[in-house]
């Protein structure tokens, strides 16, 4: 918690797609063990920032410096909409994907992994769902399954893209507790969120985006009425 070892440092970074710049002049750093919310209006560049951090897109300008071994410790929770729910896979197999780094393309699935998997399913409340196909799950259940996969990954750095979108209150509270547990265990968590009340009550650090950084730091210092107003204004205008 008090560790201030820098994990990721962004130096005047611009990120975007083809001919559209989604984020410009981003500077700031994430420290190891921090719990950070990434917030901002629609189109503010939140998901783009995650894509930049995970190396899915390269900066158009500037530099993203990451701690050594960053990519090895990384786990990403994708937006649920990115997943093809009709894909023929069971909850068990989806969660088992999380063991990829330990099991690889050819390794067997040893007893220890089976136990780990059972435990992960229990933690997210899906113990009885292992044999169900993912197509039969509700939004909240699928999100729980993706959290279980993340538990399987046992990563030190966790990036979550809108983990509570299309999820009911009870589920999001439960999953938020998992995130807080990860934080207590010293893992680094970055999550794209919409619910500002939740951010205020659970996340010590916040990055407020609106095509640029509006605020970055302690949550109460960032989520001020002025900053929020500015963010909305920046995204509503025809800011490129």
């Amino acid at each position: 918690m008090t560790s201030t070892q820098t994990l990721i440092e962004l130096d005047h970074v611009a990120l975007g797609w083809k001919d559209k710049i989604a984020l410009r002049d981003i500077s700031g750093c994430f420290t190891r063990g921090s719990l950070t919310a990434i917030v901002g209006p629609n189109g503010a560049g939140k998901s783009t920032l995650l894509k930049g951090l995970t190396g899915q897109i390269n900066p158009l300008k500037g530099r993203i410096a990451v701690d050594s071994g960053f990519l090895d410790q990384l786990a990403l929770l994708p937006q649920m909409g990115d997943l093809d729910k009709s894909f023929p896979v069971t909850v068990h197999d989806l969660v088992a994907m999380g063991a990829w780094k330990r099991v690889g393309a050819w390794g067997g699935f040893p007893k220890a992994e089976h136990e780990r998997l059972g435990h992960a399913l229990e933690q997210v409340g899906l113990a009885d769902f292992a044999r169900r196909s993912i197509g039969t799950l509700s939004g909240g259940q699928l999100q729980r399954a993706l959290f279980a996969r993340m538990i399987m990954q046992d990563a030190q750095i966790l990036l979550l893209d809108e983990p509570f979108a299309a999820v009911d209150r009870a589920t999001s509270d439960e999953l938020m507790n998992l995130i807080l547990d990860w934080h207590k265990q010293g893992r680094t968590v970055m999550a794209v969120l919409h619910d500002l009340d939740m951010v205020r009550s659970c996340f010590p650090q916040t990055v407020l985006l609106a095509g640029q950084v509006v605020g970055w730091g302690q949550t109460e210092a960032v989520l001020t009425p002025e900053n929020l107003h500015l963010a909305r204004h920046l995204c509503a205008g025809d800011y490129l």
């Binding site: 990384l74 997943l83 990829w100 780094k101 393309a105 990954q153």
Partner: protein, 300 residues
């Protein structure tokens, strides 16, 4: 009883060419079905079609330079197949056009070019052979080619099965976990091309896609998991080949369309009777739901 056995198996016992046809199309179906399952899962059903046509100009150039030489046609086909796959991917990346449209454009050009090239030197008969295959005239070299390519394809499939499924389902996950998604994708293209090149000998470039896509599209109506779908697709392909050959023997019709039509018949049976979302199943579920609702409302 004996008479029935004779009707069902006689042609394959009495005639060497029928035996070879069966062996060749079994080998083809064993590789084509599983690959088709992945094409369906990746929503790239059209790609099999596109690739089958893409190999045509290469086959034709091989034919032009070396006559009916199997190795020349196979190598030519592999080269143009891979070139078209890469070019179509490039167009999709560099222009706003999506991959399915650029694939369609490239394969139509390939088809035109291929037919023109074959016609330059060959007779109409040669053209018919290239387009519709020579399943009833498979020689040793063709049999070796198709069994060899199937062996290689099944081995690679076994080796990369797990990453291939991951790459289909959640490519970003595989990438953030350090998996080499692009290598897996290239291997998949390679398997696709060698299977199609081998298959054009058997069923022809126009028909080979049928034994790849029809059993794969049928399989999802019978079983759930990817592995089982691959197995069912291969089996359905083989049964279709057997029935098609039998039909073509007794009714004296061309063999490769008969095989594809048999696979087509299985497809319609599957969408009707398949337990995994088939029409009858959906109808009975709908009726059960209505009955349940009616009984709930009765007590009001």
């Amino acid at each position: 009883m004996m008479a029935l056995m004779d009707v069902l198996f006689g042609p394959f016992i009495d005639f060497g060419f029928m035996k070879r046809a069966l062996a060749g199309s079994f080998a083809l179906a064993a590789a084509a079905g599983p690959l088709g399952v992945f094409l369906v899962l990746r929503r790239m059903s059209l790609m099999g079609d596109a690739m089958a046509h893409a190999i045509l100009p290469g086959v034709a150039v091989g034919f032009l330079t070396a006559g009916l030489s199997l190795s020349a046609m196979a190598i030519g086909g592999m080269i143009t197949g891979l070139v078209v796959a890469l070019l179509a991917g490039l167009v999709a990346r560099l222009t706003p056009q999506r991959e399915d449209a650029s694939f369609a454009a490239f394969y139509l050009v390939s088809l035109g070019l291929g037919v023109l090239l074959v016609s330059l030197r060959g007779s109409n008969m040669d053209l018919i052979h290239v387009l519709f295959g020579t399943v009833l005239g498979l020689d040793d070299a063709s049999l070796l080619l198709v069994t060899g390519s199937t062996t290689i394809t099944l081995l690679i499939l076994a080796l990369v099965f797990r990453p291939l499924v991951l790459e289909c389902m959640d490519p970003i996950f595989l990438r953030t976990q350090g998996g080499r998604g692009s290598v897996v994708h290239m291997l998949f293209l390679f398997m696709l091309v060698i299977t199609l090149v081998a298959g054009f000998q058997v069923l022809g470039t126009l028909m080979v896609v049928g034994i790849m896509m029809l059993p794969a599209a049928s399989a999802r109506f019978w079983v759930y998991s990817v592995g089982r779908q691959m197995l069912v697709a291969a089996l359905l392909g083989m049964i279709s080949a057997y029935l098609g050959l039998l039909f073509s023997y007794y009714y004296n019709v061309p063999a490769s369309p008969a095989i594809i039509l048999a696979a087509g018949a299985f497809y319609f049976l599957s969408i009707t009777f398949g337990p995994q979302g088939g029409l009858l199943r959906a109808y009975s579920q709908w009726r059960a739901r209505r009955r349940r609702m009616a009984s709930l409302l009765e007590h009001d």
